[in-house]
């Protein structure tokens, strides 16, 4: 039997004329649609180009770019934000390289070729964000934003250069990332407050879960972990007490800076709360189940703004006299409590999608309920709901604009500062709104593209 010779697939080439006929004028109905839409598209496009390039009074953005980015943040403390961006860029670089080496390891284990990330691919994935940065640079009137962007890139590359380290000690990579994120947060918020406690807790959790001590028995492992944690806590404590940096607390943050941090904090805080609520709702203990169900249904039945009102008008009443958290703290609490209910429903969906055989298999292996949940059920359930979760976090990000109604000057709210200036009191509202909308869109669209990519890669989702 002679093998048929390999032939290349026939090349399907269409000339532009064929393409137009096929995709725009295949039949009468479609041609009519095209002919109706084309003038609309041309007119809208013409007006849009006219607005962006000719008519728009963009000096309202050019002159207030700093206000949009950081709002009323004290100008002589601006270096803190720059330092924070640098820390975050480094953290991102370390995180990216650690994740890449983890993925490479997994691929090697599975015997698949290790995919290397192409720079062009990154541009394609994050083009909305890159476009936003380019627009910012276009509007920049000083050289500082250029320097910041270049510095960010440099520190990101420095972070990825840690690959030689993270390739062999992956946990070190995650820890380094966590530490630089915390450092980035602290460099702005300062260390004089109670915030170092939070920092220490994060470091402890990172250390506790990430340091691999597989060679040791149960008790020595525990002892080693406790010892390491105490050591780390002491180091953190020492760093914070030795260098008492005064900072700018988040009740004085505003602009895009505040929007991003409120989103990040609410995401980080609502996830564990939502997880606990979901577990409680699926629990066999009726009291826990009812408490959790009641909470979730109550929160999901009301709009976020009522919770924010509750935070502003009632929470102060419900705490002992004297303790008065700032309005931003209360808003973050309200957003967290709100999102946790939705996260809980998403996680519950993931838990329900797992066949019961998984639990039974875990039981057959003799795993106690907590361990079977942690090692068998949750990893699969959470993986299945990553896209839905990202979707929820996108809507959280969009919902931070509600802080504007509470007169907090986040990205949408700084508009009121911009238009309080005599030059722009009643003009150029469309320009600022288009700019703000573009900012939100860039972040949200980048996130949604990433979530679609994850959905395809993990082959999960609905």
């Amino acid at each position: 039997m002679t093998a048929v010779e390999n032939r290349p697939a026939p090349v399907l080439s269409t000339t532009p004329v064929e393409w137009v006929r096929e995709r725009l004028f295949p039949n009468v109905a479609s041609s009519i649609v095209t002919l109706l839409l084309l003038p609309v598209l041309i007119y809208v496009g013409y007006r849009a180009v006219l607005f962006v390039a000719v008519n728009g009074r963009w000096e309202v953005v050019t002159r207030n770019l700093t206000l949009f980015m950081q709002g009323t943040f004290p100008r002589d403390e601006q270096w803190r934000i720059v330092a924070q961006i640098m820390c975050m860029a480094f953290a991102l670089g370390v995180g990216a390289s650690t994740a890449a080496s983890a993925a490479a390891d997994r691929a090697r284990e599975a015997g698949l070729p290790v995919a290397r990330q192409q720079p062009l691919e990154v541009v394609r994935r994050f083009w909305p964000l890159i476009a936003f940065v380019l627009v910012l640079l276009y509007f920049a009137s000083t050289v500082t934003p250029w320097l910041v962007v270049l510095g960010t890139l440099a520190l990101f590359l420095l972070g990825t250069a840690a690959r030689f380290l993270t390739a062999s000690f992956r946990n070190v990579g995650w820890l380094l990332m966590a530490l630089s994120v915390i450092a980035g947060f602290q460099v702005v918020s300062g260390t004089t407050g109670r915030s170092w406690v939070a920092a220490a807790v994060v470091v402890l959790i990172a250390l506790w879960t990430s340091v691999g001590l597989e060679g040791l028995d149960r008790l020595p492992r525990l002892a080693a972990r406790v010892g390491l944690s105490v050591l780390a806590a002491a180091i953190v404590f020492g760093v914070y007490t030795l260098i008492p940096l005064s900072g700018v607390g988040w009740d004085r943050w505003s602009g895009l800076h505040l929007t991003l941090w409120v989103s990040a904090l609410a995401i980080v805080l609502s996830f564990p709360l939502g997880l606990l609520l979901a577990l409680a709702r699926r629990s066999t203990l009726p009291a826990l189940r009812m408490l959790s169900t009641g909470y979730i249904e109550l929160i999901r039945g009301v709009p976020l703004i009522t919770l924010l009102f509750m935070g502003q008008y009632i929470l102060g009443f419900m705490l002992p006299a004297g303790s008065n958290p700032s309005s931003i703290t209360r808003a973050i609490a309200a957003i967290t409590l709100f999102t946790a209910a939705y996260v809980a429903e998403i996680v519950r969906g993931g838990l329900q999608s797992l066949p019961y055989g998984q639990t039974e298999a875990a039981q057959a292996l003799g795993l106690p309920p907590a361990k079977s949940m942690r090692l068998i059920i949750l990893p699969q359930a959470l993986r299945a709901v990553i896209p839905a979760m990202v979707g929820q976090f996108i809507s959280l990000f969009k919902d931070t604009s509600l802080l504007y109604i509470l007169a907090i000057n986040e990205f949408l709210g700084v508009r009121s500062l911009v238009h309080a200036q005599p030059d722009f009191r009643s003009v150029a509202h469309a320009e600022t709104l288009v700019f703000v909308a573009f900012g939100y869109w860039a972040f949200a669209y980048a996130m949604s593209r990433e979530s679609q990519r994850l959905e395809r890669r993990l082959r999960v989702g609905i």
Binding site: L24, L37, F317, P320, A321, S401, S426, H429
Partner: protein, 401 residues
């Protein structure tokens, strides 16, 4: 000895007995939650006594003391509960118009995104990706500020009047404060005509059912839409003649030295901002639901429709959409609920729905705690009604297996 150890009645020590632990765990959870709530409530009572702000609902019967914008008929001396009713009415109004807009635009965009026409598909995709990724509040504020308040439209005194050709009636009056359009006005016995309308609708539904039954039993073409509409039209015409012109069309005119719209139907900029923006925003989600549910119908259905020589419209109308609707309806109802909840964003642009009015009323010195409890109660009851609808729909739409 050994027999005693394997005796199942010997229980493990209580701190390792699952039955005991379950009860103890629940008791602890309940006690902790109870103590937390009691602590919060005790603080609340304590603080309200200290500051002298009441917690009871007695304020509902006291006068509102402020004028609701664009509601001249509202008397500031009328009690707060009437203000709440105005707010609920406005919330419902914006929701209904928003839902209609979202449904129409969403359906068109969702189907267009699946179209083979490249231009239609790309435009629909751009629409979805654009509106889905902007906060709804930004869209509302854009309408309120960039389109209306500081937008290109003139104010009411110099408003654009689009006349009916050949007459001096205005069809549309466009200004940045209000838009006017023709409306129906009572010319004697509109209420009686309303009864006629209700009667006509009932008859039309019966005719619809009758035609459906005829079609089921004999296979004769049902033409139920034509039949029902025809019967309705005939009945309404009869009613109109019998009642002797129960209503007349009023055209929007600028009265009182062009300071306000008289006659016609006036809609406020705030309403258009909220209903329009939320409609467009929710349409992007509706479009994705429509697209997803059409894609979920297997291609075999489409091919079967082609094999029956149905044309594109018939394929959608009789084969694809009825099946897709079953998948799409639960998420669509959820989007309705989201839209109703999102109307609360009107608080930012001064459309007098319930959230805005509650905020204004708190600003006017009404006690915050009971006001917000009422606000949450209103939204909770909306949510409960819509989830009830969802459950009914789910039950009715389930395939009989």
């Amino acid at each position: 000895m050994t027999s005693q150890q394997s005796d199942s009645r010997v229980r493990p020590p209580f701190w390792r007995d699952a039955r005991v632990l379950r009860v103890v765990g629940q008791v602890i959870a309940v006690v902790v939650v109870f103590l937390l709530l009691r602590w919060l409530f005790a603080n609340l009572v304590d603080n309200s006594r200290r500051t002298g702000i009441s917690l009871d609902f007695g304020f509902l019967n006291r006068p509102t003391q402020f004028q609701i914008p664009n509601h001249d008929e509202f008397d500031p001396r009328s009690p707060v509960w009437q203000m709440v009713l105005v707010g609920v009415k406005n919330t419902l109004l914006a929701s209904v118009f928003g839902v209609i807009l979202a449904a129409v635009v969403g359906l068109v965009v969702g189907i267009a995104r699946l179209s083979k026409n490249w231009l239609a598909a790309k435009l629909a995709a751009a629409y979805v990706e654009f509106f889905r990724n902007i906060p709804p509040l930004v869209i509302i504020v854009f309408f309120a500020f960039a389109v209306f308040l500081y937008g290109p439209l003139p104010n009411l005194r110099e408003s654009i009047e689009i006349g009916f050709p050949g007459t001096d009636h205005n069809v549309f009056v466009l200004s940045l404060e209000q838009w006017g359009m023709p409306s129906l006005a009572d010319a004697g016995n509109l209420a009686a005509f309303g009864l006629f309308l209700a009667f006509g609708l009932v008859i039309a539904v019966l005719v619809w059912r009758w035609r459906t039954r005829v079609n089921d039993q004999t296979g004769a073409p049902h033409h139920r839409v034509l039949w029902a509409l025809g019967v309705l039209a005939v009945l309404l015409l009869v009613g109109y003649v019998v009642l002797g012109e129960p209503f007349r069309i009023t055209w929007p005119t600028l009265g009182e030295n062009r300071r306000r719209l008289v006659d016609g139907f006036a809609i406020n900029a705030g309403f258009i901002s909220v209903a329009g923006a939320l409609g467009l925003y929710t349409a992007s989600h509706v479009a994705e639901i429509v697209r997803g549910s059409i894609l979920a119908i297997s291609t075999g259905q489409s091919e079967a429709a082609n094999a029956l020589a149905l044309n594109g419209f018939q394929r959608y109308r009789f084969v694809i959409l009825p099946q897709a609707l079953r998948i799409a309806l639960p998420p669509l109802i959820n989007q309705c609920l989201n839209l109703v909840k999102n109307t609360s964003l009107a608080a930012a642009v001064g459309y007098s729905e319930i959230t805005n009015l509650t905020q204004a009323s708190i600003g006017n010195g009404r006690p915050a705690v009971p006001s917000i409890v009422i606000l949450m109660g209103v939204y909770l009851s909306f949510s409960l009604i819509i989830s009830f609808m969802l459950n009914v729909v789910n039950r009715r739409m389930q395939l009989a297996t």
